[in-house]
């Protein structure tokens, strides 16, 4: 039976890990479990949950900064921010519903551990870009801090941002400090219909080259667009290309007209108001267009926008797939039939010849244990990666195997 450790304070977490380090016992690190079905399967007989480390420890709205203990649920943080007219600008993505884990269980530590950011990333940067500081315990049982609570800080090596995307394999974050942003006064969406993938991405990248500060640029091919729930687009039998604008009420109409003028060759868009826009883009934050199913596997592909449609087209030659493009095409979410290797060979081949990398998000545990979930590393990068892992966690106790086998 798996032993569960649930520290309620930072000192308790540190003493637990120090004890495990002395005993050289491996530990799986989790928050509330939102990410447990993603990534490789960590092998250990002890689970350490940060769920007991809860609460906002600092919030200065006028300095757009917040600190929170790592186990604090994201929805609690967002509620506190919304009450003061602010938000997490990078729109954290909750993988839970798409991977069969509970929705709403995402913790703020999990957000920075995975660095999975939502649609607004193209304008506001990633979770990593919004992180200012961390407190954490490494695999040696040492409590350390990096960064701080101020926006500009070049004091020493940037360990804080270096921990983002490390999936708890280097250290267990106990507290994170991050930048927040004002909630936009208003927003709207322009939805163009009927565009094939390559043309849609051409339209999206064209808008990203304008100074109109588009805060969301998504394209859903026909199969994926049919899954949209937003009433104005529900059941649509065509590809949908979406552009979001957010700004002051007094400025948004003028921006909309400029955007429409810039894109007039792509047709006349359906317009969604602020409320409709909010509900529509929430669908991407919970990946409801890629719902959980044991019949399919889900990939997340990072590439150049100009290569995105080619990659999806190449994969479609080998298997049925459903895709949607975020970040003007720089991010592809791709659903393929469940198979012994989750289509890894074909997906990775299609990506590698065009540039980028692919991460397997949803697949049965035995599949995630047998194929590379993260893109394999080049030898020289693997050498550095192993060195970094060893610097933080020399005995490989934290989330061993979560990202790469034997690491």
């Amino acid at each position: 039976m798996t032993e569960l450790l649930r520290p309620a304070a930072e000192w308790e977490l540190q003493s637990m890990i120090a004890k495990l380090a002395a005993q050289k016992r491996r530990v799986e690190v989790v928050g509330h479990g939102a990410l447990r079905n993603a990534g490789r399967v960590a092998r250990s007989d002890i689970v350490l949950s940060t769920a007991g480390l809860k609460g906002v420890t600092l919030y200065e709205p006028t300095e757009i900064v917040m600190s929170a203990r790592s186990g604090t649920p994201v929805y609690e943080i967002e509620a506190i921010l919304a009450a003061r007219g602010q938000m997490l600008a990078f729109e954290p993505v909750d993988l839970g519903p798409a991977t069969g884990a509970p929705g709403g269980a995402l913790s703020i530590g999990g957000v920075f551990a995975t660095n999975f950011s939502g649609s607004r990333r193209i304008l506001a940067g990633s979770a990593r870009d919004n992180l200012l500081g961390v407190r954490a315990v490494n695999g040696r049982g040492e409590l350390f801090k990096s960064g701080g609570r101020v926006m500009k800080n070049v004091t020493g090596l940037d360990i804080a941002r270096g921990l983002t995307g490390s999936w708890g394999t280097l250290a267990v974050m106990t507290e994170v400090t991050f930048k927040v942003a004002p909630l936009p006064q208003t927003m709207l969406t322009l939805a163009y219909t009927g565009l094939p993938d390559d043309l849609a991405i051409e339209a999206l990248t064209a808008t990203m080259a304008t100074p109109l500060e588009v805060s969301g640029a998504v394209h859903l091919p026909k199969g994926c667009a049919a899954r949209l729930k937003q009433p104005k687009l529900k059941g649509i039998d065509q590809p949908v290309t979406l552009l979001r604008l957010e700004t002051f009420s007094t400025a948004i109409e003028a921006r909309k007209e400029k955007l429409k003028a810039a894109l007039k060759v792509y047709g006349t868009p359906i317009e969604l108001d602020a409320e409709e826009t909010w509900s529509l883009w929430s669908e991407f934050r919970t990946l409801s267009v890629m719902p959980f199913s044991t019949e399919t596997s889900l990939w997340r592909i990072s590439t150049l926008p100009t290569k995105a449609a080619e990659i999806v087209f190449a994969i479609e030659k080998f298997m049925d797939s459903t895709a949607f493009y975020d970040w003007a095409g720089a991010l592809i979410w791709l659903e393929v039939p469940a198979a012994a290797d989750a289509g890894a060979a074909d997906v990775r081949r299609a990506v590698s010849v065009r540039g980028g990398h692919a991460t397997l998000i949803r697949a049965q545990p035995e599949v995630r244990a047998s194929v590379d979930v993260f893109e394999p590393l080049k030898p020289e990068i693997e050498r550095l990666t192993r060195g970094v892992k060893s610097a933080f966690d020399p005995d490989g106790l934290l989330n061993r195997g979560r990202m790469y086998a034997n690491l």
Partner: protein, 490 residues
Amino acid sequence: MPHIELPEPDIGVIRRRPILIEGLKSRVGADLLILDEDGRRAYETDAFTAYRNVPMLVVLPRTTEEVSKILKFCHENDVKVIPRGAGTSLCGGALPTEDAIVLCVSKMNRVLEVDYVNRFARVEAGITNLEITSRVAPKGFFYAPDPSSQLACTIAGNLAMNSGGAHCLKYGVTTHNVLGVKMVLIDGMIVDIGGTSLERNGYDLLSFMIGSEGQLGVVTEATVKILPAAEGARPMMIGFRSPEAAGSCVAAIIAAGIIPVAIEYMDHAAIEVCEAFAGAGYPLDVEALLIVEVEGSENEIGILLGRIAEIAAAYDPKTVVMSSGPEQSARIWAGRKAAFGAIGRISDYLCMDGTIPLAQLPHALTRISQICAEHDLKVANIFHAGDGNLHPLILYDANNPSEADRAEAAGEAILKLCVELGGCLTGEHGVGIEKRELMASQFSATDLAVQMRIKTVFDPTWRLNPAKVFPLAATETMRSGRAASTPEAA
């Protein structure tokens, strides 16, 4: 001054100079080397000019492969390497030692690729910051980080120091605007970290690299984001009767949901000097001046400046001036951008670079004045108010040893104050040798050990820019080659 301790040069290495010269000549050719003393003297210091050492030799590679050969040779011959861009570091980050080779990337200054659709530029590391923007501006793009030295400083140096500038409130600093680098490790291995796509695969090694002050590797190429330029931008000046009013106004602007592209603060002393130098039209009857710039279409700029003026009205400003057009905007910024030079005309000064939480601004300014008064010195304050990055300029006479000592002591006290108030030792200039011994006031021994272990991963023998960033005593075993491959926390 100078009081900062530098490690004793290794006489054994210096004696091997002729052999090292021959070795390097055979690997990369004599034309890349600067050997004569006059030539080497040009590299004896950076912009932290109180400290100087003539390096053993200087090498100016033109390609990544040459950098690789040079580093491999230095690694095999146990020679220290000081990477250098344009030498504009204000903290002694590029200061050589007499037993070291300076590797300067200034000849590697080409734009290799610009992709406007995918919005990135791939450049060699020796290109200047401003040159990138100059190259992409005709197509309506720019490279966002804008350090004051952007005309001269290189991207290599920007990466080393994670440079920012006045406009980073909205656009972030170097680490937010770089997608990947090509770099060379001390053993000569060429490594690509990151690439052209927005997300990186595996550990975020780029985060460790950016801001590491040339301690992990020598960057030879960078892939940077290019952004579409705003339709327009316009500043306004708001003069206040007190620092408290100015600080409260900044907080109120942000609380109202407006994030301007820049908010700059100048105290009375700085206003007077800058106005005398630049004739920017700064008000001379105020205690604090904010320069607030917003971007957007002409209509949006008008709306935003109007809202900011409304917000400022609650703090009883003495002056509110909205720039009427490009000429006035340029004049307003010319005064601010020339501030350091203008103050340099009237006095020697030490430029501090601490960051504080914005709410601490009035208290910090009061304490800075007290600290300088206690040391019988004057101070002028310039400040990136949007992000809390203070630049107190401590005025002193460099020819008066007592004043110089007092200035250094006051500077230390100010930086420690920033840490006590919840801030940090450096917001944009870096640690270098200048703040190396102060690191222990911000970080515990464990915090520092965590950082030093990363240095050791990339540079196991501590030959790249050693004796910088970390307290000298803490790095002695690694630098002397007696490591301890993993620094232990005390």
